[in-house]
Amino acid sequence: MSRLLSSLRDGKGFDIVLVAVPLAFLLVFSGLPLIYNVVMSFQAVDMFSLGTFNRPWVGFKNYVDVFSLPATWPIMRNTVIFVVCSIAGQFVIGFALALFFARGFPGSSYIRGLFLASWVMPGLVVGAMWNWILAGDFGVLNYALRSLGIISENIFWASNPAWSLWAVIVANIWLGISFNMILLSVGLAAIPRDLYEAAALDGANGLQKFWTITLPMMRSTIGAVISLGLIFTLQQFDLFASITSGGPANSSNVAQYWAWEMSFRQYDFAKGATISVVMIAVVMIASVIYVRSTRHEVRG
């Protein structure tokens, strides 16, 4: 007994306890639901078998069914557009702002702090705000575009199938800019000043310094920002719920919102699970890329 106690206090036992607690937590709250979800995607699930675990196995039938639905490919396409354009927009604008604030003019750190406002706001609130901005009849965006003479009549952003997905993308870019900017600012701040001075003496102009010093030194930060952006973007649900609800006619529907619709609107839990398993696979690939990009850390 005392040996067990002393091993707990300062031996291997303590290490094991330290590791076991978070592992148990992860297993119960992430691992089991994940496994349950994967299992469900290989079963036939209906309202009556929902409460049991022992359901008829159907192999890949759910996957075949999901991929033969007519809505699948447009929704996958929307998802790709949503993810790529959101990340590109967030990253480019966030990086530009990070570079801008890194110049360190008076008040720059305070103004940079203000950008965090978008980050601390719940997605639903952001969605409601963008709903107003994008509103067809009284929205400020239409007002601005009309005043500038860019459009002649109001566009109903959220209910026009040509624009609905872009309405959510714009809101999501706005939401993600601060996250990108803060992370990239941290990365920029970690690059020693004297590298730029050495490069300036070696004959580099501003653009050359950016390509040969900033970008390579930011490699791991950029990898992290983009991988995390991918995960956050694939998780983005609130904005769809509050701006377009995936409509009209699935024109702004994406995989994550669709999975929820399948499960909790149409009560087709098996298809909902199947869609989310596909998404998990994509996120895992992104995570591997992220881990690999941080492994090649070049600072020293």
């Binding site: 020693p192 001075e197 003496l201 070696d202 030194m217």
Partner: protein, 358 residues
């Protein structure tokens, strides 16, 4: 001959802080100039102003005859070796060396030939594939120098390049840097706070304090004829002794402000009765038999084998050097003779040298 680097009335303010005050400096082609001074005196600021990394508030800087005040660093054609080395961590040694050439899109063959030659010059040929993090401090130092050499610039600027190295490597690199300078026929400006480094390496030493140039000249000139008490105390190791004194009636001796008010002879004639500070280098004091010289009590003996540094209790403390080891122990009494040829006299108020002894 026109100067390679010329500074005229250069002033630099950081906000309200006056970092460089009326700097005039002329550096001939091929000269090795050392900037020395205590920490915070503006050495780095001056060097960075030459490089274009700081903009000066007023005055003019000319490099090879061209006014460069408004030129950005990349157009000044000077190379700098930083104290931190500032190697590009994401590039290997080869890429670090050839960075400037690759920016200029020089032909590949030319780049490789230049890199090979420079790597040989600095003895790094076998390390071209390594990354900076895989190099020792001394090797990084060499890469930083190689990166400067490959550009064949109008001037080399060094900002305390050896201060991160251990003592023996530092002594070795001192010689190497100087040899390299000679071989390349380069013009170098070398910042250091170590006066020995400055004295041993440079043709011309510039002593700075609080943003002004206190004195400049050949190393041994500064040693023999310091213009003021600051330079006298800064140049030379161990440091010069200073004793308050008053010039005698005759003007040819000084009465030291020590117990017994000893009178020491001076070489030449000074204003009688003037309050002065007498400067005596430890190496110019010698032990003599009793009944002569200054009578003092030994308070500490430090021996390094080749020489012994002996401090005597007086206010302020007086120290002197003897060759080899010594029998003297703490508490012994000793008599010191002073060579009148080597007595420095400074005005007690202005601290400027008066009637420089020779």
């Amino acid at each position: 001959m026109t100067a390679q680097i010329e500074l005229k009335n250069v002033e630099k303010y950081y906000g309200a802080y006056h970092a460089l005050k009326n700097i005039d400096l002329s550096i001939a082609k091929g000269q090795f100039v050392a900037l020395v001074g205590p920490s915070g005196c503006g050495k780095s600021t001056l060097l960075r102003s030459l490089a274009g990394l700081e903009t000066i508030t007023s005055g003019a800087i000319h490099i090879a005859g061209e006014r460069v005040n408004d030129l950005p660093p990349r157009k000044r054609d000077v190379a700098m070796v930083f104290q931190s080395y500032a190697l590009y961590p994401h590039m290997n040694v080869m890429d670090n060396l050839t960075y400037s050439m690759r920016l200029k899109r020089k032909p590949r063959a030319e780049i490789e030939a230049a890199a090979k030659e420079v790597a040989e010059t600095i003895g790094l040929s076998h390390l071209l594939d390594r990354f900076p993090r895989e190099l020792s401090g001394g090797q990084r130092q060499r890469v930083a120098m190689g990166r400067a050499i490959i550009r064949n610039p109008k001037a080399f600027l060094f900002d305390e390049p050896l201060s991160n190295l251990d003592a023996s490597l530092r002594v070795h690199m001192r010689k190497e840097v100087r040899a390299l300078h000679n071989r390349l026929g380069a013009t170098s400006v070398y910042v250091t706070h170590d006066q020995i480094e400055a004295m041993t390496m440079a043709d011309h030493v510039v002593v700075m304090r609080d943003g002004i140039i206190e004195q400049q000249g050949a190393p041994l000139d500064l040693y023999a004829h310091p213009a003021n008490q600051f330079v006298a105390g800064f140049i030379g190791s161990p440091a010069m002794n200073f004793v308050d004194a008053r010039i005698s009636e005759s003007g040819e001796a000084a009465r030291l402000n020590l117990p017994g008010e000893p009178l020491i002879p001076l070489n030449g004639s000074y204003p009688p009765g003037r309050s002065v500070i007498v400067g005596l280098r430890p190496e110019h004091l010698s032990v003599v038999g009793p009944d002569a010289g200054l009578a003092l009590k030994v308070s500490m003996v430090e021996s390094v084998g080749s020489a012994s540094y002996i401090s005597c209790s007086a206010t302020p403390e007086l120290s002197f050097v003897v060759e080899g080891t010594t029998r003297l122990r703490s508490g012994d009494s000793v008599h010191l003779a002073i060579d009148p040829d080597h007595v420095h006299v400074f005005d007690a108020k202005t601290r400027l040298a008066i009637g420089v002894v020779n």
